[in-house]
């Protein structure tokens, strides 16, 4: 037994050392940075301060946090509704086609993120495909400005993360016992009631996993706002970027990054809670059905 433990430790050691040296230590360092002052010439002045965290709550920056949360929230809502519908449709398709549909729904997710975002510049720019299409239908006015708007950023986020929601929602939908829905209908429930009271509660864990994924990746996103929101469009990710690469205020940038991590942890905790409660309800629905 102890020999197994020793061997196991030996096997894990190189990877764990790598993760410690190049993830744990650097992240701890950033956390520490957040408690120091910015030096006069952009360096770091090693005197303890909480100012950086105070600055995060400054109306200007708190506003950017709220805006990021609003954009991420909207993208999450749209992605979950569309992704759930798609997953439902895949789960309802003939059995042998399901893996194929699922594979093709997820495939775009594994291609380059920058390129998928760039595709939306091609679609939405003033002389882009959408404008061409409108002209073709007889539209003659000014080209609509769609690129460099909040809507474009949301579209980009939904597009990029939708496949994951489909994947996350498909898992519980495909495992659903069809007899449950039949029983509900036999007992006189309408299709809508069956969906709302039986199917939906049983698939909450998938929805929660998909939603958390989209929200967390969207709120800290830096590429999509930079490319589809235009040069002056800022979400938290862009703010962090600026502190490190242009404003040279690393301590404040570090505090912003910590706030981002804190939000992420909160969301993950909420997900765990939702999954627990759903598991409890599912046990009631399926287990205590004879009451």
């Amino acid at each position: 037994m102890s020999q197994t433990r020793f061997r196991s430790s030996l096997l894990m050691a190189p990877a764990l050392l790598w993760l410690t040296a190049l993830m744990v230590v650097p992240c701890a360092l950033v956390l520490a940075l957040a408690f120091f002052r910015r030096g006069i010439y952009g360096g770091i002045d090693y005197t303890f301060t909480l100012e950086n965290f105070g600055l995060v709550f400054n109306p200007l920056y708190a506003g950017i946090f709220l805006k990021s949360a609003r954009i991420a929230g909207t993208a999450t809502l749209i992605a979950v509704v569309v992704g759930y519908a798609a997953a439902y449709a895949i789960a309802a398709a003939p059995r042998r086609w399901q893996p194929v549909f699922l594979f093709f729904a997820v495939l775009p997710f594994w291609s380059n993120y920058l390129i998928r975002t760039y595709a939306w510049i091609v679609l939405l720019n003033r002389e882009g495909l959408v404008t061409q299409l409108l002209r073709w239908f007889g539209y003659t006015g000014e080209p609509p400005s769609m690129l460099y708007t909040e809507g474009a950023v949301i579209a980009g986020l939904v597009y990029n993360y939708l496949p994951f929601v489909v994947l996350a929602c498909y898992a519980p939908l495909s495992r659903l016992n069809p007899e449950l829905a039949e029983a509900s209908r036999d007992l006189g429930a309408s299709a809508m009631t069956t969906f709302r009271r039986v199917i939906l509660p049983l698939t909450v864990p998938g929805i929660a996993a998909g939603a958390v994924f989209v929200f967390v990746l969207s709120i800290g996103n830096f590429v999509t706002p930079a490319l589809l929101g235009g040069g002056r469009f800022q979400m938290i990710g862009n703010l962090v970027y600026d502190q490190f690469l242009t404003a040279n205020d690393w301590p404040f940038g570090a505090a912003l990054a910590m706030a981002l991590i804190a939000i992420m942890l909160l969301v993950l905790m909420a997900q765990a809670l939702a999954a627990d409660r759903a598991a409890g309800r599912a046990a009631q629905t399926t287990g205590g059905g004879d009451g």
Binding site: T4, R7, S8, S9, L11, P14, A15, W18, L19, L22, M23, V24, P26, C27, L29, V30, L33, V82, A85, Y88, A89, A92, P99, F103, A105, V106, L107, P108, W110, S111, N112, L114, I115, A119, V122, L123, E127, Q132, Y159, L162, P163, V166, P178, A181, R185, A191, L217, G220, F222, A226, V240, Y241, F244, L245, W250, A254, A257, L260, I261, M264
Partner: protein, 264 residues
């Protein structure tokens, strides 16, 4: 599932069609435009490979491509080795702490921008000159986590008693690994390596922050980002098509080797 009315079935097919159109039209437009002689989205002026030819003559794209290949190959090799050993080490134990689990899981969920600035701060604090080697150090962090999770999934159904049997029959630890464990996990190891390779080829933010000053260590995604910010050019369409073809091929292979990673 239960029988559905024709109306419901039509609605479900409509949903599928619309979602697939949403997912694939933007990519299809890009690919189509990369073969458009005129290069503009305004009009189709004939099939041409000239934008691919012009890529081949662009030295900064070629050197970025070479850098990307170096980073992806080296980081994948290191990550595959470390990640596989880690997976075996973890699964050998009958129990392990939540802390270990969190440490292995963290690189997959930590926001890119946070890891990027953390590594930038770290490298500059220890006065390490940044370049391709620092990008490799950084890419191994998330790559090994992904390799580990793919291999672990395979090991979940592994019967450890055959390892004991092999040892009882007098095989050395090395022989047991080579003849018993490795053949079982090999498809997962290769699948994990292919996944790591594509992740590394596509990774932009961490590379951007850990590449250091100067253009010498520009990777393909960094080059693409710079080109996109500069404006739309037909070359980007061609480059995008090539990059997508490479990652989709690698991922499809990975999926075939390791059923269940992308699918169920």
């Amino acid at each position: 599932m239960a029988e559905r009315s024709p109306a419901t079935r039509r609605t479900l097919w409509l949903v599928l069609t619309l979602v697939f159109a949403f997912l694939y039209i933007p990519i299809a437009v890009l690919v189509a435009l990369s073969f458009n002689e005129g290069g503009l989205p305004t009009a189709w002026s004939g099939f041409s490979l000239k934008w691919y030819a012009s890529l081949a003559g662009n030295s900064s794209i070629l050197s970025a491509g070479l850098n990307t290949l170096i980073v992806a190959l080296v980081s994948t090799a290191i990550a595959t080795l470390l990640g596989t050993l880690l997976a075996i080490g973890v699964e050998m134990r009958r129990q392990y702490g939540k802390g270990l689990e969190a440490l292995i899981f963290a690189p997959m969920i930590i926001p890119d921008i946070v890891l990027a600035i953390a590594l930038l701060s770290f490298f500059s604090m220890i006065n390490l000159t940044m370049g391709l080697h620092t990008i490799i150090l950084a890419h191994v962090v998330f790559n090994l986590a992904f390799v580990c999770s793919v291999v672990r999934a395979r090991l979940k159904s592994f019967d450890w008693s055959i390892v004991e049997a092999s040892a009882d029959l007098g095989a050395s630890a090395i022989t047991t690994f080579r003849r018993v464990t490795l053949p079982v996990i090999l498809p997962a190891v290769v699948a994990g390596a292919l996944l790591a390779f594509t992740l590394s080829v596509d990774e932009f933010i961490i590379a951007f922050f850990t590449a250091g000053a100067g253009r010498a260590s520009t990777t393909l995604p960094m080059q693409i980002y710079a080109m996109i910010r500069f404006g739309i050019t037909p070359e980007i369409n061609a480059l995008a098509t090539i990059v997508m073809a490479v990652s989709i091929t690698a991922l499809t292979l990975s999926q075939r080797l390791n059923r269940g990673m992308i699918g169920q």
